[in-house]
Amino acid sequence: MTHRISRRNVLAGGAALLSMSALGPAFAQEARLRVLWWGSQARADRTNKVNQLFQEQNAGVAINGEFLGWSDYWPRLATQVAGRNAPDIIQMDYRYIVEYARRGALAPLDDYLGSVLKVEDFDQVQIKGGSVEGKLYGISLGANSAAMMVNAAAFEEAGIELPTPSTTWEEMARMGAEITKAGKRKGFYGLSDGSAVEPLLENWLRQRGKALFTADGKIAYDANDAAEWFAMWQKMREDKACVPPDIQALDQYNVETSPLSLGKAAASFAHSNQFVAYQGINKDKLALRSHPLIDKEAKGGHYRKPSMFFSVSAQTKDPELGAKYVNFFVKDPKAADILGVERGVPESAAVREQLASTLDELGRAMLDYVSGLGALAGDLPPPPPSGAGEAEFALRNVAEQVGFGQLDAKQGGETLVNEVSQILARG
């Protein structure tokens, strides 16, 4: 409270003349929950229905839902949190949860475990995925894993079998080159250039027994690893197994700008919960595949991670009510029917069982993919440190410098490790 007052004094400055600072907005309702999430109208339709259901079952509670597209979501959330006007329930991303939790913007939920939050039938690893520095700050809304989106029709045209869970990078590169060479479509290549895709790099590193970050927030790979990674992609670029750099640079790493959706490549690297969206804007039939292996025996590159969380704001008046809402969202059978797998595969075993029979083909493919990874999936890595977002930018920047020939693979490896180390040290 004290820090709020001191900051307000500073911020209001000369403006205090006009402000009636004592008057906060007065709320008519006894209990009111503001829920903020990112997503499309389709997601909003489902979420609003669940909110309606919750209000019906909890007299005296009013829920205000607000939603925005991903890129607009973060500045609005940051402004509201900074202005001490945060929504009570905040949809959180795996990366940002650390940034917000460490700075004290989220309420720890450990006290409600077992009483209000009945998540015993969750995969325990996924509960851990919502923890930061030993405290629980987010309840996973769905499991997810990095995945390769493959244009099945393009593979077929070129007369090439789809990749399997045991396909290696070497084989994948060959497939890519062959598709390009087949030349069935104009300006069409086998693969996207994945050298800047952080989850893909992470997958590759994990197969080598490394990782992106250590538990204490340092870089967990060295310049040789990075140089080898860049060299692998350099080779693929030379063999025309993947798209050239200026086409790859069109990719903003979202659904509609990926080389796959642009009709430039037969495969792109993304996350399994985006499968529906990818299929939605691609005419050809797509398939969901795991990432290639460094060799036939490699294991544990993948991991199931929460696709997104619900967190409760530290500024909320009634965190218990918040926890109750979140529990309803992930556990209630009626809510589950409404939500489906739109936010990823549900974490609750009971809900998964309930949904299994009702899913359409795409939902089925997602569920099967995430639950069928087997030995390809390993442990959840420690949550990304502060500065991880910037580190991802750095990877992209260096990968582009290598792609456009401004650096060779070895220089690229050194530059990347250097930059990432500096970013993490700054925090």
């Binding site: 400055g13 000369g14 940051a78 200026d246 640079a249 069109l250 790493y253 992209r396 582009e400 401004q406």
Partner: protein, 318 residues
């Protein structure tokens, strides 16, 4: 600012024609009060809405404010880092200066040229004017991002045209050597605002002066050079100053076209885009505020310089 030259005539003569027995207070009111009366709404807005947040951001530039926790005073550390240890700052400054230098002159020249063509009694003036303003209606809409790709991507319209001449172009919009140019083209394409201002300025040129000049047998070029141009200088000056300020502060074009990254390889990392990334992406509002005040300083110097030189080439009627 040097441009606002005082001319004593107006209020002075008015005051002297009033009854002589006025108190000192009334005299002060007569010479200063009216000005402040007219300025009142702006002054209220300035003190009530603008000044506070500006001071706050100046204060925050000396702190490590991370949007969520209380800011801590860290002295000039942010400024020191900017000056000595921030390669991205250097990259952003370079990109921004390039953008200012390329986009402002082209945009202004184009706008002036079209305004003059349209002003000189072209048939269908209103139709052309409306068409030329259309791109500016789109502003920074999300649709622009998609449109620009359709034009400047590898298989976009521009390359299809070039292919007619046997030229195989790169993907202009996503190539580090050319991407900034696509943003310059976007800026020039949206030349509607300065064009309208030029047109309004041309309207203010008294036509009897042209008549006199025609009688004297002055050529059209001479008429333009001797009559139109000098009378248009206040408007040219205005457009140059505000377009330069706008170009320094440009954010939306790079934001929507690069998807907020400023890529490829920082080639479209506008200053304010970098500032935005630091503030909202990396939770360094304190650092971003320091960046902002350095930008204010840069723009301020440019503007002050323009005003200083303006007395040599801008002609006011008063």
């Amino acid at each position: 600012m040097a441009a606002v030259q005082d001319t004593a005539v107006a209020v002075g003569t008015g005051a002297s024609s009033r009854p002589a027995a006025q108190s000192r207070l009334a005299r002060i009111w007569a010479s200063h009060g009216a000005g402040y009366m007219f300025l009142l709404p702006w002054l209220i807005g300035f003190f009530g809405l603008t000044l506070g947040p500006a001071i706050a951001s100046l204060y925050l530039s000396f702190t490590n404010f991370d949007l969520i926790r209380a800011p801590e005073w860290i002295g000039t550390a942010n400024y020191a880092r900017i000056a000595t240890a921030d390669p991205k700052f250097a990259a952003a400054v370079k990109v921004t200066f390039l953008y200012v230098v390329l986009s402002v002159p082209f945009k202004l020249a184009f706008a002036l040229l079209v305004a003059i063509l349209l002003d000189r009694g072209v048939r269908g003036l209103t139709v052309y004017r409306a068409i030329f303003y259309l791109p500016s209606l789109l502003g920074g809409s999300v649709a622009i991002a998609v449109l620009w790709r359709q034009l400047f991507a590898g298989d976009g319209l521009i390359n299809s045209l070039l292919a007619q001449f046997g030229i195989e172009g790169p993907s202009w919009i996503s190539h580090p050597d050319y991407s900034i140019w696509t943003l310059v083209v976007l800026s020039v394409w949206q030349f509607g605002s300065p064009m309208i201002i030029f047109l309004a300025g041309l309207r203010q040129v008294p036509t009897d002066m042209y008549e006199a000049a025609s009688l004297d047998g002055a050529s059209k070029f001479r008429q333009f050079y001797k009559i139109t141009l000098p009378l248009l200088t206040p408007v040219i000056f205005f457009n140059a100053v505000v377009q330069t300020i706008d170009a320094f502060k440009a954010f939306t074009p790079a934001f929507i076209i690069s998807g907020g990254t400023g890529g490829p390889i920082n080639s479209t990392l506008f200053y304010t885009l970098y500032l935005y990334q630091e503030a909202f992406g990396n939770f360094r509002m304190g650092y971003a505020s320091a960046l902002a005040w350095i930008l204010v300083l840069i723009i301020g110097l440019f503007t002050a310089f323009s005003f200083l030189t303006s007395r040599y080439w801008v002609h006011y009627d008063d």
